[in-house]
């Protein structure tokens, strides 16, 4: 169909590079496992980083006494 452009032939040549091999191959499995691992690590990181920030700010605010109940009636 595309007499002036070898699209079909080039497509076959390039497909293997784009997908790191055929489906269900070692390359695609490794990429999937790496991606899932990083995703899980990111979740743990979101929780830990925020927890650290919040705990620090909470301690700072408590130490400042700004939120303490006045000892005499307000």
């Amino acid at each position: 169909m595309f007499d002036a452009f070898p699209y079909d032939e080039w497509s076959e040549d390039i497909a293997g590079f784009w997908t790191f091999g055929p489906e269900s191959s070692t390359g695609t499995y490794i990429l999937t496992v790496l991606g899932v691992a990083v995703m899980i690590i990111a979740f743990v990181g979101f929780v830990m980083l925020e927890n650290r920030k919040l705990a620090h700010q909470q301690a700072t605010l408590k130490a400042s006494g700004a939120l303490d109940r006045p000892s005499t009636g307000a």
Binding site: T19, F20, E23, F43, F46, E50, N51, L61
Partner: protein, 501 residues
């Protein structure tokens, strides 16, 4: 220059075989479909721009960036979870929950054993990479991914100003990449068990996106509790003013614009396979029909919201959203006049439900998400049972009915509520659901980001509206509430025991 190209051009327009013409037509058809879905994805990004603006405007100044960051990082977490988990659920769970074993016929033994759509949805499948042989899967995946962002974002606004960012990201990932896509597999696909057995009809996702997100959010809110100072000691609701109502209203208008992309992405078009547009169940419809209903739905929703709230700007625009959600389930079959009337009723229901949830149930839903999305989502599929009963749905052409609609509602309510409640309860047990009360009082932005995001404007005292309408200085009210709750603001105050003053 041009004349030198003529021989090449003539060679290409020389007589060709019929099968070559058909091949070219098929390619053009596929590329057209690919472009269509691509641009629906682009338009649907506006929904997320809108959600971010809407929620940021509704937050107090001290919580501006922490609110916006939830919407931004929704994209960061729902995208990979949906890629690795969600799409496989949609492809492989149409028959229901897994049944593993030698007699399993439904594909749950793994994609390699199931050569159809299920087999194309695993992350290591050819169709999930940049294959040249398939124009549909990647853009179809992206359209569903945008639905997933939307579903997670629906919950986002309800939790603002006290939920931990990380807790929201975990909850949003479960909602966006597991819960909603499971119900989509069951009742929003041509082969879902609710579709083929009961004729469940929810063509533009009243329940499968909005209602489910609302039910999940309700489960989370019951554990999260109200913002400090939201309720008086007697249990009457105060109003916290958002810091920028214009931003909120602009955000809602952006969401509405993005909804046209959402609606369009709910349809199929492949001219060489089907002679016209199909809805998600494979039943014929037209793009014009659903665009008609969505537009009339907005008109009816704004009208209903305006009158039900006596002209409140927030509820007028939220009424537009409620109106559209109420008619989405039957958007492919409703007459515009019917859609107009139903949208008015849906918006009025949302205003009533929002006030009831806030004032009677004393659940602090900061943007009315449970009422607008949850209540109206369920209302929308209920309406199909009344007004579109008998309409053939799905590949088996099972007639939609009130029984089928109720079956879907009964299946999706626990599917959404139980995970939302359970995961929020677990996070609460580990003290990972809510920010410390001291941080909540001061504002989340200083703790999370170390700065105020309007540095050029002087900070002014926070104003709170008491239940009787008086505007008061917020600081003493919030401090008193903080002392009263003894650092446990998640406890609800007198829920169900007091009438609003």
């Amino acid at each position: 220059m041009i004349t030198s190209l003529v021989p090449t051009w003539l060679a290409q327009v020389a007589p060709v075989e019929t099968d070559q013409v058909e091949e070219a037509l098929a390619l053009n058809s596929n590329v057209l479909m690919e472009q269509f879905y691509f641009f629906t994805v682009v338009i649907m990004w506006l929904i997320h721009v809108g959600f971010m603006a809407y929620e940021a405007g509704a937050s107090r100044r001290k919580n501006l960036m922490s609110t916006a960051m939830k919407n931004i990082l929704t994209i960061a977490v729902v995208t990979p979870t949906f890629y690795y988990v969600g799409w496989y659920i949609y492809g492989c769970f149409e028959p229901g929950f897994p049944t593993v074993g030698p007699d399993s016929l439904d594909g749950h033994d793994g994609p390699a054993q199931f050569p159809g759509f299920c087999g194309q949805t695993a992350p290591w499948a050819d169709e999930m990479g940049p294959t040249l042989a398939n124009h549909l899967n990647a853009v179809f995946f992206l359209a569903f991914l945008l639905f997933s962002w939307t579903t997670a974002s629906i919950m986002s606004g309800a939790l603002i100003e006290r939920v931990r960012l990380s807790a929201f990201l975990i909850l949003g990932s479960v909602l966006g990449s597991v819960v909603w896509i499971m119900d989509a597999a069951w009742g929003w696909s041509s082969g879902g068990w609710l579709t083929v057995q009961f004729g469940f009809h929810d063509s533009i996702a009243s329940l499968v996106v909005h209602g489910v997100a609302g039910a999940f959010t309700l489960g989370v809110l019951l554990n999260l509790g109200p913002r400090i100072g939201k309720y008086t000691k007697e249990g009457a609701a105060r109003t916290f003013r958002g810091h920028n109502t214009h931003l909120t209203l602009m955000g809602l208008m952006l969401i509405f614009t993005g909804f046209y992309g959402f609606y369009a992405a709910c349809l199929f078009i492949t001219p060489t396979t089907f002679p016209g547009w199909l809805n998600i169940y494979g039943s014929p419809t037209t793009l014009g029909a659903i665009a008609f209903v969505i537009t009339v739905g907005f008109a009816g929703g704004f009208t209903g919201g305006w009158f039900a709230s006596k002209g409140d700007p927030f509820w007028t625009l939220s009424g537009g959203l409620a109106g559209v959600i109420s008619v989405s389930a039957g958007a492919d079959v409703y007459h515009p006049s019917l859609a107009y009337l139903l949208a008015i009723s849906g918006a009025m229901l949302a205003v009533w439900a929002g006030n009831y949830i806030e004032r009677k149930l004393r659940i602090d839903d900061a943007v009315g998400a449970v009422a607008v999305h949850g209540v109206c989502g369920f209302y929308g599929v209920f309406l199909v049972g009344i007004f579109a009963g008998g309409y053939p749905t799905g590949l088996n052409n099972v007639e939609s009915s009130m029984g089928g609609q109720l079956m879907g509602m009964m299946a999706f309510l626990p599917l959404a509520f139980i995970p939302g409640y359970s995961i929020a309860w677990l996070l609460k047990r580990f003290n990972l659901l809510r920010v410390p009360p001291e941080v909540e009082l001061e504002g989340l932005d200083l703790a999370e980001f170390g700065q105020d995001f309007y540095p050029e404007f002087e900070r002014v005292p926070e104003v709170i509206i008491e239940p009787d309408g008086r505007e008061v200085d917020g600081a003493p009210v919030l401090l008193d509430a903080y002392w009263q709750t003894n650092g446990r603001p998640a406890e609800r105050v007198g829920a169900g025991s007091e009438e609003r003053s």
